[in-house]
């Protein structure tokens, strides 16, 4: 049976409401204090009280996240093209790329602050490092997964390597590239918030949500801390929605993932 359209909206709203009710009940039953477990109402209240600060901080975080994300996209695409185009480069560099990917950014954090400096440059660098790898790895994979028959076809056309890359390999890598972009979009705001948590307070910078985490924590404003989490989540959603929209623009006319199943 097909799920009716209203249920697609109603079901998550209902489960969310049940979750909030349970939360409220746990608080009422245990009698915990607000600074240990605030009620959902207290969180929304804090969000409303602090909304000016939160929105300004979210704006700062968005700038850092977007900067790192865009840089990672451009660099990721360029490096994937190089890796996909030259086998010797791929053999030589790919393992090291994976080693770098395995290295947790937190370990490198002090070095990043030392090299890139505090404030926005450090934040953008952390975001870049976190969102860069899924783009490179996915796009390279895509460039190498081109249908062998289509490659043969281009060979019968005596196509140049550049033509093959531009007219064949790059378009067929698009779904992979966009999948990498989607992963990067979920990671970019996390990277920026983490970067701000590390370096946001070290200068007269924007602060951002990561810095707010630090501030609210030291002030024991726990409801406001939860509110910060809520806003961070929203920011993440905006990033992912933007990439999903791009994905739709690029792929919906031809890619099988947008095939309608009602035929």
């Amino acid at each position: 049976m097909k799920t009716p359209p209203w249920a697609i909206w109603l079901a998550p709203v209902l489960s969310g409401a049940v979750f909030l009710a349970c939360w409220h009940a746990v608080r009422a039953a245990t009698g915990l204090q607000s600074w240990i477990l605030p009620t959902p109402a207290e969180i929304f209240e804090a969000a409303w009280r602090e909304h000016g600060t939160l929105v300004r901080a979210a704006g700062g975080t968005a700038v850092g996240a977007l900067g790192g994300f865009v840089a990672a996209t451009l660099a990721g695409l360029a490096i994937a093209l190089a890796l996909g185009g030259a086998r010797w480069l791929r053999t030589g560099l790919y393992p090291w790329l994976l080693v770098l990917q395995m290295t947790p950014v937190i370990v490198l954090a002090p070095i990043i602050v030392l090299w890139a400096g505090p404030g926005l440059p450090g934040i953008v660098t952390v975001t870049f490092l976190i969102s860069f790898f899924p783009i490179v790895v996915n796009t390279t994979q895509g460039l190498l997964s081109t249908d062998a028959h289509l490659v043969d076809l281009f060979h019968t056309y005596d196509a140049t390597r550049l033509q093959e890359l531009w007219r064949l390999r790059l378009p067929s890598a698009m779904p992979y590239f966009l999948a990498g972009l989607r992963i990067a979009a979920t990671l970019a705001p996390i990277g920026a918030i983490f970067g701000e948590y590390l370096v946001g307070n070290a200068s007269g910078g924007t602060g951002g949500l990561g810095f707010l985490v630090y501030v609210y924590n030291t002030q024991i404003k726990i409801p406001a801390l939860f509110a910060t989490a809520l806003i961070s989540c929203l920011l993440g959603f905006i990033f992912v929605a933007a990439v999903s929209w791009l994905n739709w623009i690029v792929l919906h006319r031809w890619h099988d993932s947008f095939e309608r199943h009602d035929r």
Binding site: H149, L153, T156, Y157, D158, A159, P171, R253, W254, E259
Partner: protein, 258 residues
């Protein structure tokens, strides 16, 4: 036949991939300009490899292969390949797919578009010009694929079981149309197929192959005059030809079993 040199000339051509077994053994074949030659044989007899050698997609291991009197690479400009699958670029419209070979050759946009539309007209898909491959049926995709091949104005058209995935009715229609298109845009055809009926309808010569290693077993001339109508399939001479080729094909298969 004419005195012209053959357009495709195999001389004792053998082929193996890497250190593997022989795929083709001492193939000798001349295809004259304007001929329609079908190659038929059991699976794994190397008939697709034969086409790939002509298209310079794979090198000859032993022997000599000349296309238009030169090495296969040199003749690529006058050659088009139709694969078993339509191999359309899914992100391009039907028209843009037909334009592709012209675009790669640097033909100006206006001319390119006009020629693509004319070719889509020829294959009766003008109204589908703006559609993407996933919106086309299997038969339509193959029409676009052939239109794209004809855009190169090939002197030699290589077809590797292009209609194998289609139902018989569609396949019969496309067989008739292929001959019609060929009368309007003449090309020499080298056609690989599993279907005796198809080979007998299309070709003026059928080469029967045996497998392991792939080699020629027999050759049959098909002298029905062109243009050939669908009604040819109802003629006793046609039945006789199909029976003759079927017998030879059977013998070639026995050959492998022996």
């Amino acid at each position: 036949m004419s005195d012209q040199p053959p357009i495709v000339r195999f001389r004792a051509v053998s082929k193996r991939f890497g250190g593997g077994p022989l795929v083709l053994e001492r193939i000798t074949l001349d295809v004259a300009a304007g001929e329609f030659v079908s190659v038929i044989g059991p699976s794994g007899c190397g008939k697709s490899t034969l086409l790939r050698l002509v298209a310079a997609l794979s090198p000859v291991t032993e022997g000599a292969l000349a296309v238009e009197g030169a090495a296969p690479e040199a003749a690529r400009a006058h050659l088009a390949f139709v694969f078993q699958e339509a191999t359309l670029l899914p992100w391009l419209s039907a028209a843009a797919n037909v334009e592709l070979p012209l675009r790669l050759r640097g033909v100006p946009a206006g001319e390119r578009q006009a020629r693509a539309l004319a070719l889509l007209d020829l294959v009766r898909l003008r109204e589908a010009a703006g559609r993407h491959p996933r919106q086309l049926s299997g038969g339509m995709k193959m029409r676009v694929s052939i239109a794209r091949a004809l855009a190169r104005e090939p002197r030699i058209l290589l077809l590797d079981e292009p209609f194998a995935a289609l139902d018989e009715i569609t396949r019969n229609h496309l067989n008739e149309e292929l001959l019609d298109w060929r009368s309007k845009a003449p090309f020499t055809a080298l056609f690989v197929t599993h279907s005796v009926a198809e080979a007998a309808f299309l070709s003026n010569r059928i080469v029967v192959m045996a497998a392991n290693p792939g080699r020629f077993r027999a050759e049959v001339r098909v002298d029905f005059p062109y243009p050939r109508a669908a009604t040819l399939r109802e003629q006793p001479e046609y039945f006789a030809k199909v029976a003759e080729v079927s017998r030879l094909l059977h013998a070639a298969e026995e050959d492998r079993a022996a």
